[in-house]
């Protein structure tokens, strides 16, 4: 895209970050009382709320029940005012349906599903403000909410995006960088075991560069893991202190 230099000669991006720098992450666990688990995350200007209900009895038709594992049910919806242009409806469009499916697949792989056969876990994600990396932030928020709900996971699921600009991979891209037409690689990993649970790439990227970009994204996931881990430890510590454990 002409006009905007996504990566300056000095190695700074439009928002002042370096190529391998994440946006500021702020998060909180347990924002709601009614949900079994909930979390809020801000990655730069992307703000996401996630709530987890369950495991509980299958809601709706019983035929959805799986006899050997839990049914992971997701819903991704975006507030009508979350984007620059007003959305007509919060969900039900193709993009949010796709996102719902991706989230479902991701967490099906990360939750210890065999522990709760014939039950259901709901993960509801609500985008309050969107500025690129919605999937990544949703995954991170949902992970925190699942942890808050006390649902056994193989590991944290951390997601990060990356792109390739001026022969250099860049990490955690914003909406501006997303929409500039470059390649976008999204990856969700289990950082400890270094397993990839979800990978998606849009647009064109030379084969040789793929590994660099992927490395950058995986590195981002690890960085995110550190931030999330710290938040979780702090939260658990607080809760323990309040309830008189220790």
């Amino acid at each position: 895209m002409a006009g905007i230099e996504l990566l300056s000669d000095q190695g700074f991006r439009v928002d002042g970050r370096k190529a391998n720098e994440l946006r500021r992450i702020q998060c909180r666990l347990g924002v709601f009382t009614q949900a079994d688990g909930s979390a809020y995350i801000e990655q730069g200007n992307t703000k996401i709320l996630a709530a987890v209900y369950g495991p509980h009895e299958i809601r709706g038709s019983r035929s959805k029940a799986l006899h050997d594992k839990v049914l992971v049910n997701c819903q991704y919806s975006m507030a009508t005012f979350s984007t620059g242009e007003r959305k007509r409806r919060p969900r039900g469009d193709r993009k949010s349906k796709e996102m719902t499916m991706h989230l479902q697949q991701t967490f099906d792989a990360a939750i210890l599903t065999s522990l709760y056969p014939r039950s259901q876990i709901d993960i509801f994600v609500e985008v309050l403000q969107s500025d690129g990396g919605n999937y990544c932030a949703s995954v991170n928020a949902a992970t925190l909410a699942l942890i808050d709900a006390g649902i056994p996971l193989k590991d944290y699921v951390c997601a990060c995006s990356a792109s390739f600009v001026n022969d250099k991979p860049i990490m955690d891209i914003s909406y501006l960088e997303e929409s500039s037409g470059g390649a976008e690689l999204i990856v969700a990993t289990l950082p400890k075991s270094e397993q990839i649970v979800f990978l998606e790439m849009n647009s064109r990227l030379h084969e040789d560069n793929l590994s660099h970009v992927l490395d950058m994204a995986v590195k981002g996931c690890k960085d995110i893991h550190d931030v999330l881990d710290q938040a979780v430890r702090e939260h658990v510590g607080e809760v323990a202190a309040i309830s008189g454990l220790e």
Binding site: Q26, R28, V31, F32, T33, Q34, A35, S38, Y40, E42, N45, K47, L49, A50, A51, Y53, R59, N73, Q75, S77, A79, T80, F81, S82, T83, G84, R86, P90, R91, D122, F124, E126, L128, Q129, S130
Partner: protein, 290 residues
């Protein structure tokens, strides 16, 4: 709405409590629960507000868009309400589950704002008969803890207060009209919400009535009277809800209470909004991280 199961004994306890002006959480019949308001929370909107009324949490985003005027009202802008019940609040709202409730809330809000003195729609007209501002008020329900109508109306008023509409200059040039947007992002038009209504819901419990019913109280209330009350002490919309009925004389008492509570609610809300507006620069953190 989220169901709360109550035993008969619990119901009797609440009903007797309401009679003696002492409710299960220690409030009197005309007291609201703790209310927190924050404005300017979402940067993609022209105005936004988040309110937390005990367990009820509502986020309102206002977006203004330039559109065509309607043929019936060529000299006025428009306001449109949309309510979304997020599944975060309860799994029952998943998919289209919350639509009925959402419609009810948005209809009530639309009716409450459907009178000339609430918001001056003529100020939103840009070119008469052609262009006007359309104000989209989107209400997002994040957690349900009772009094959704009251909380939504408060949040809407706060968000409208917070709304800034870019100033446009209109130049007429040989039959063409040109619109020019001001370069200064601070050169904005604010909405006058001084006379916008707040909804007060009076729930009839036993023979008495309470404001701001909690979920437990809602479970033992058969009929509710909703009043959209303005600062001047006028009603802009009224509605009875629920499967019960009211005695003719009890309606008069409820109106009395509604007026009193509604006016003081409006007053304290405006105070908070004005003071928050002044302290805007000091505050930098928003959302859930304070």
């Amino acid at each position: 709405m989220v169901d709360v199961q109550l035993s008969d004994a619990e119901k009797t306890y609440i009903i007797h409590g309401a009679q003696d002006n002492l409710r299960e959480d220690g409030r009197g019949c005309e007291d609201y629960r703790h209310l927190e308001i924050e404005t300017s929370v979402v940067s993609t909107t022209s105005g936004s507000a988040k309110i937390r009324l005990a367990n009820t949490e509502i986020l309102v985003g206002v977006k203004v868009e330039l559109g065509e005027t309607s043929p019936e009202n060529p000299d006025k802008g428009r306001i449109e309400f949309f309510v979304d019940c997020s599944a975060n609040a309860t799994p029952e709202f998943e998919g289209r589950g919350g639509e009925d409730l959402a419609n009810e809330i948005s209809n009530m809000l639309a009716r409450a704002y459907d009178c000339p003195s609430c918001l001056d729609m003529r100020k939103l007209c840009v070119v008469e008969g052609k262009k006007c501002w359309i104000v989209y008020v989107d209400v997002l329900l994040l957690e349900c803890g009772g009094s959704l109508f009251d909380a939504s109306s408060i949040a809407v008023k706060a968000a409208l207060y917070n709304t800034s509409i870019p100033r446009l200059t209109v130049t007429h040039d040989e039959g063409h009209t040109e619109l020019e947007l001001s370069d200064d992002p601070y050169d904005v038009q604010r909405l006058d919400v001084y006379n916008s209504p707040c909804i007060v819901t009076l729930s009839k419990i036993g023979h008495s009535h309470v404001v701001d019913a909690s979920q437990k109280e809602e479970a033992c209330c058969l009929a509710r009277l909703m009043l959209a009350v303005t600062d001047k002490g006028c009603v802009t919309a009224m509605k009875k809800e629920g499967s019960g009925s009211f005695d003719v004389s009890s309606i008069e008492d409820m109106l009395e209470t509604g007026k009193k509570v509604g006016q003081s609610l409006n007053k304290s809300l405006m105070e908070v909004l004005v003071s928050e507006d002044r302290n805007m620069k000091k505050k930098y953190m928003t959302g859930y991280l304070r």
